[in-house]
Symmetry: C2
Subunit: 234 residues, 2 copies
């Protein structure tokens, strides 16, 4: 077969917006870009899509390369294609956002990328249109987490309800009533109470919970109204 004639080909990259939660703040994993243009500036982790590679594969490969992690929650955010977004050469970027348990993240031996976690609110200036991507990813996270049990992806397997509440409060930059909050999350039936307590943050200790994985898979796409009035979101 021949090729389509007279059409422009362009580079296609993937960029990953990687969120983490340290128990207090929502964080973003950024790297120092290792090549020109904009070498040495803060950037999202990204890479070019290879000839034999699916977009999801490229995104997963890119994420694994940076974090060493596999099987992470990841979702296509959208594509960014302004003609001048990369001044070097026209490059389309397909952005993915990922939610990882920050404790699982191990700095790779080489620390090849000079990666760092930044509080989302206090991130440095980013190259190209990466700030737009981050903003859109944050909006999407808020949007989806209001309706779907998404934020569990940011927590370790065992977590307490107060930890979960702090996470929601960080995502929505708002405070919630703890009685209503715990009633609501427990009413989903997704949580299984453990026998052990977390004893580091309080004297009394808070019970650990785990996700009921069967129910989690079943209800993941259901409308659960996790946050009833998240404000006007996109």
């Amino acid at each position: 077969m021949t090729r389509y004639s007279r059409q422009t080909r362009m580079l296609v990259a993937v960029d990953c917006i990687i969120f983490g939660f340290d128990g207090q703040d929502l964080k973003l994993l950024l790297i120092k870009r290792g090549f020109e243009p904009e070498k040495g500036k803060w950037s999202l982790m990204g890479g070019f899509v290879q000839p034999d590679e699916d977009l999801e594969q490229a995104a997963a490969r890119t994420l694994t390369k940076l974090t060493g992690l596999d099987g992470v929650y990841m979702e296509q955010l959208g594509s960014f294609g302004h003609p001048g977004r990369d001044p070097m050469e026209r490059t389309l970027s397909v952005a993915y956002f990922a939610l990882i348990d920050i404790n699982q993240y191990k700095q790779q031996i080489t620390d090849e990328y000079k990666a760092e976690w930044f509080p989302l609110k206090d991130a440095p200036k980013l190259i190209f249109d990466h700030a737009d991507m981050v903003e859109e990813a944050q909006a999407r996270l808020r949007y989806k987490a209001a309706i779907h049990p998404l934020l569990f992806e940011l927590l370790p397997t065992r977590f307490t309800i107060p930890q979960l509440q702090i996470l929601f409060e960080a995502v929505y930059d708002a405070g919630f009533d703890k009685r209503n909050f715990s009633r609501k999350v427990l009413s989903t039936g997704l949580l299984v109470k453990q026998k052990e307590k977390e004893r580091a943050t309080s004297k009394r200790g808070a019970f650990y919970y785990k996700l009921d994985k069967r129910k989690y898979s079943a209800k993941f796409h259901a409308f659960l109204n996790f946050v009833s009035d998240p404000g006007n979101l996109k």
Copy 2:
């Protein structure tokens, strides 16, 4: 500046999933593909992104070329990039879905694309991965329309509540109680009752309504819960 070396460039296309509503069924606008490969087969309307063009621009241009319409509701659905999706040459496609008032659609003079409306449930086999795109677009439409006042984009400026209900029933393939339905849509405050009635479909006639454009813009992104239990959606 030089270019990124040793990376593959690829074609980037946009494809449009165009929905319409004829008063009875949800419909899809398809064309007969005019060039190889798969010439003569049913396809979504699409086109290649031009060197100086934004993705949104490319999508809007493509839509206008087919329908003659401008200022139509359009949203990026996502990108499809399996390496073999176009057998001729690797092509990434950024899919957009559009909602148009089917009455505004005028077949262009030339009828260059041999376009036809198909009931969504009864669409022909499509080329490449276009069926996946359509399926994803339908899921997205259901998802969004359950929460946002989106389906109005499919109706003419003046419409009746029974018409609106038939539309919702078509989208969700479900029946709704008309008392609860009208109460719910009226309670949003988005509708302005007109003096005239639509008299074609019933003897008594049904009052026309128009959208309150100010409130529509303001509430478009709010969570309105148009359909309270839309089932398990993505």
